[in-house]
């Protein structure tokens, strides 16, 4: 109860533009969001994505919080919605992915089509290629292409401007093409 009142006061200050209060509030509520989402999902990385989505959504809808009402139910509704979206996204991805312990690289009927995959090797190598990109290009590519965030969401997350994100994504794709073996 006391915790809720404290959060409510911090949120009210944040609505008025108090950045220190907002930062403190977001740091205090993050473990609460995390533990709430953990009840519905056991995958640590997915949970963290949902936590981050919840924080972004809270930022976007912060004007809808009515300081006369308790804060926790408002926050819990946002986390629940982002949790549902996260689980849907996960099941969508799972439908298109095959998890196997075998080295199943032979994916295409045409053997020539497999050459790039074979040349590339395991996903770790893709990760290594990504690691070779400059940090801001990698950040832009991950936010826009892997996480599929909107430009403005990615800008808020990364601190890069929308224009910089576009340029860095373009450069990252170009750099990856150059890094691909046999290209």
């Amino acid at each position: 109860m006391l915790r809720d009142q404290a959060w409510s006061q911090l949120m009210r200050a944040a609505q008025a533009g108090d950045r220190a209060a907002y930062s403190r509030l977001l740091r205090e509520i993050t473990p609460f969001i995390r533990s709430m989402l953990r009840r519905h999902c056991s995958h640590t990385q997915d949970i963290e994505e949902m936590v981050q989505d919840t924080l972004l959504t809270l930022h976007r809808v912060r004007r809808t919080y009515d300081p006369k009402r308790p804060f926790s139910p408002w926050l819990a509704s946002i986390a629940a919605r982002r949790g549902i979206d996260g689980l849907r996204r996960r099941s969508r991805v799972a439908r298109h992915e095959i998890s196997t312990e075998f080295e199943a690289y032979e994916t295409f009927a045409d053997p020539a089509a497999n050459s790039d995959i074979e040349a590339l090797g395991a996903p770790e190598e893709v990760e290594q290629l990504l690691q070779r990109l400059p940090p801001r290009q990698r950040q832009a590519l991950e936010a826009l292409k892997l996480k599929e965030l909107s430009l403005k969401e990615a800008a808020a997350l990364s601190g890069q401007s929308v224009g910089a994100l576009k340029v860095n994504t373009h450069r990252a794709i170009k750099a990856l093409r150059a890094l691909f073996p046999g290209r």
Binding site: A14, Q15, A16, G17, D18, R19, A20, Y22, S23, L26, R27, T30, T44, Q45, E48, E49, V51, Q52, L55, L56, T57, H59, R60, V61, R62, R63, T64, Y65, D66, P67, R69, P73, W74, A76, S77, I78, R81, E127, L130, P135, R138, Q139, E142, A143, L146, K147, S150, L151, K152, E153, A155, A156, L157, S158, G159
Partner: protein, 232 residues
């Protein structure tokens, strides 16, 4: 590979840490004006729509033909149920647009909607399949369809503009219930320009018009309601 917990990504700019996101969000914080309670906003909207509707009704209604109709219990019930559906659906849409409101608000317009449909259906029993004029195969009924869909467009644009300010987390019920309110508002005003009894064709076209409005509003919910890119 994407964003990870703070303790999993030491000494690396990427993947982005939750702490870093918090810093970015705090740095981007701008003061916001807190939205008024959804019921207040709904009543403001209904007041504006009510004034415009009253002006149209007073200006264009043929009272000599309408007043005797409104005195029959079935038509009075149908008109009242239509108005109440418009009011309750609008209130429900505003409530549903706020994160911590119960999804059960979606049921609010259902009782009056059922009464409205039942009263209209009752009228059909006495009037059958007849038409009201020689304006094409469906007579005046086609005009009703055009009126409901046409009047709903500006109403829906205005309503969605207001609902959008809340950035609804789940736009589907907000759009569906909101457009039901809009279509019911149009149908209510239509009652005053409809100086004849409802036939089966009338009812079918009214329902088709309302269904079309709800369908289009729901289909367009993302561009109209989802302001996910906005940060302020």
């Amino acid at each position: 590979m994407r964003y990870s917990r703070d303790d999993e990504t030491p000494n690396d700019e990427l993947p982005m840490k939750t702490d870093q996101i918090i810093d970015n969000l705090a740095a981007a914080l701008a003061p916001v004006r807190v939205l008024r309670p959804p019921a207040v906003r709904a009543l403001l909207w209904l007041a504006v729509v009510g004034v415009v509707s009253a002006a149209l009704i007073l200006r264009f209604t043929q009272w000599g033909a309408i007043l005797p109709r409104l005195q029959t219990p079935r038509v009075a019930l149908e008109t009242a149920a239509t108005a109440l559906t418009a009011i309750t659906a609008t209130i429900a849409a505003f409530e549903l647009s706020i994160p911590d409101r119960s999804p059960r608000w979606a049921w609010l317009p259902v009782p009056t909607l059922l009464v409205w449909l039942a009263a209209s259906g009752l009228g059909c029993l006495t009037n059958g399949l007849g038409t009201h004029g020689a304006d094409g195969p469906m007579g005046e009924s086609a005009h009703c369809f055009v009126f409901i869909t046409g009047a709903s467009v500006p109403l829906a644009i205005g309503l969605f503009w207001m609902l959008r300010r809340a950035r609804p987390l789940d736009a589907l019920p907000v759009a569906a219930i909101g457009t039901l309110g809009v279509a019911a508002t149009s149908a209510f005003v239509l009652q005053f320009f409809h100086p004849f009894d409802v036939t089966v064709i009338d009812l079918a076209l009214h329902l088709a018009a309302i269904g079309l409005v709800v369908l289009i509003g729901t289909a367009l919910r993302r561009p109209l309601l989802d302001a996910s890119g906005d940060q302020r």
